[in-house]
Every structure is written in C-alpha cells, then in structure tokens.
C-alpha cells in the first residue's frame, strides 16, 4: 500500500452500467465458471476409464435436477466465452473497435450466446424425446 493516499481512477461505483463493461466482466466470470466445470470433465473421463458403475453415477448426477441446471449454466458459459473469445481475437486483429461497432458486436455476442445455448439444448431434448 502507498504511504500517501493517491486519487483512485474511476471504478465500478462511478461508471454507468453499459454493454462494453458487461461483456468484459462476463468473459472473466464465464472463464472462471468453465475452469470450475473442468472438474466434471475430469470426473467423467475417470469414470469412463474405470467402469460401468462409476459411469452410471456420473450419468445419474448429470441427469439430476442439479446436474441439469449446472449443465445448462456451463453450456451458456461455454457459448458466451466461445463467441466473445472470437470477438476478442477479431479485436486483436484491429477490427470492430469503433464505439458503435463495439456496442453492436457486444450485443451480437450476448444474444448469440443464448441462441447457441438454445440450439444445443434443442438437440439434447430432441434426443431425450427420441430415446
């Protein structure tokens, strides 16, 4: 900590909420959520390697209410992080930085993540109905 109190730059308490900051915050939040989600990935792979009983437990967890809600959340987190990640890569190449473009592609990514989640879960539910 500095010995003298220096002025702070404006932070969350000062700025009005806007899509530019929401997309940035969500990218970090979904990244952290996805990192936590890798626990299920590792457990599922270890279960598949160790035998039918272990696999049945993982399948039962994924099919339970808590499991379904978690899977839905991770689907959206992955959809958002994927789309906004592509947006970041495009920005790294120098495109889409004008304020109106930035706002527009922020909304495209946010709404697109819900569309993508819907598509994936339409596939899930269609398979469930068919099985």
């Amino acid at each position: 900590m500095p010995a003298t109190a220096r002025p702070l730059s404006p932070h969350l308490g000062i700025y009005r909420w806007q899509i530019q900051m929401v997309t940035s915050i969500l990218h970090r939040a979904t990244g952290i959520a996805l990192a936590a989600g890798t626990i299920l990935l590792v457990v599922a792979l270890l279960a598949l390697a160790s035998g039918p009983d272990a696999w049945a437990k993982v399948a039962a967890f994924c099919g339970s209410w808590i499991g379904m809600i978690l899977m839905l959340g991770w689907t959206w987190a992955l959809a958002y992080h994927l789309l906004n990640g592509i947006r970041h890569l495009v920005q790294d190449l120098g495109y889409g930085y004008k304020p109106e473009q930035f706002v527009r592609n922020g909304w495209v990514v946010t709404l697109g993540s819900f569309v993508l989640t819907g598509l994936v879960w339409a596939c899930v539910l269609a398979q469930r109905g068919g099985a």
């Binding site: 970090r28 990244g31 952290i32 996805l34 990192a35 890798t38 626990i39 990935l41 590792v42 792979l45 270890l46 598949l48 390697a49 035998g51 039918p52 696999w55 049945a56 992955l78 994927l82 990640g85 592509i86 970041h88 890569l89 790294d92 994936v120 596939c123 899930v124 398979q127 469930r128 068919g130 099985a131």
Partner: protein, 127 residues
C-alpha cells in the same frame, strides 16, 4: 529510460523479464485451437448422450476421437491456467495469498490435465 523507473526499481536492478508477450501469444494460440476443439467437443458430447457405457467407451476409444479429446483437455487446462493467472494477478493483492493461489491453480490444472490424459489413454489403449 531509467529516469522513468521508480527509485526502488533502480535499487533492485530489475528490468523487463523479456517475456511479457509470451503469455499473451500462448493465450491467443490456445484460444484459436479451442474455438475448433470446443465446437468438436460439444458435438461429441451431444452424440454421447443417447449411448450406454459400452457405446460411450467405444466412441472415446476411437483413435480420431481419443487424439482430439487429448488435444482438447491439454489445451483447456493450459488456457484455463493462463486466464486464471491474470484474474488472480488483478484481484488478489496480498503477496502471500496471491502466491499461494497462483501455485494452487497451476498445480490443480496440471493434475486435471494429467488425470484426463491418463483416463483417455486407458480408454483408448485398454481392452
């Protein structure tokens, strides 16, 4: 340029570590890989849903799927570790807890990757 350094920096003699861009570049390289591998992964999980244990085991055991899954898990943990490192650097300021947290994340990511690789190899090579 030394005039722009703080007196403490001059006293310590610490300049640039000359690897500032390495983290940035690897984060982007793994990100590009994960765009492709991530879409493949979601597709594969969707095709796993209606399968029983033997079917799921056989699907992952296919050489093409096993190789792509290996690439996916290694890249996921590599990318996760890079991203979490930046988040911790930004928000955890106490030196001791930052160091402890950074090491914990790195170790857990390595363990996660190692366990996943072992599981995939066992599925792909075992009878």
């Amino acid at each position: 340029m030394s005039s722009l350094r703080t007196p403490l920096k001059n006293a310590l003699g610490l300049g640039s570590a000359r690897q500032g861009s390495h983290h940035f570049i690897i984060q982007r390289v793994t990100a590009v890989a994960l765009v492709l591998l991530g879409v493949w992964f979601v597709w594969t999980v969707l095709s796993l849903l209606h399968l029983d244990y033997a079917g799921a085991h056989a699907l992952v055991a296919q050489p093409c799927n096993a190789v792509l899954l290996l690439a996916f898990v290694v890249t996921v943990f590599w990318h996760a570790q890079l991203g979490l490192q930046v988040v911790i650097e930004d928000y955890v300021h106490a030196r001791g807890s930052q160091l402890a947290l950074q090491l914990t994340v790195k170790f857990l990511c390595f363990l996660g990757a190692a366990a996943s690789v072992l599981a995939i190899l066992k599925i792909a090579l075992g009878r």
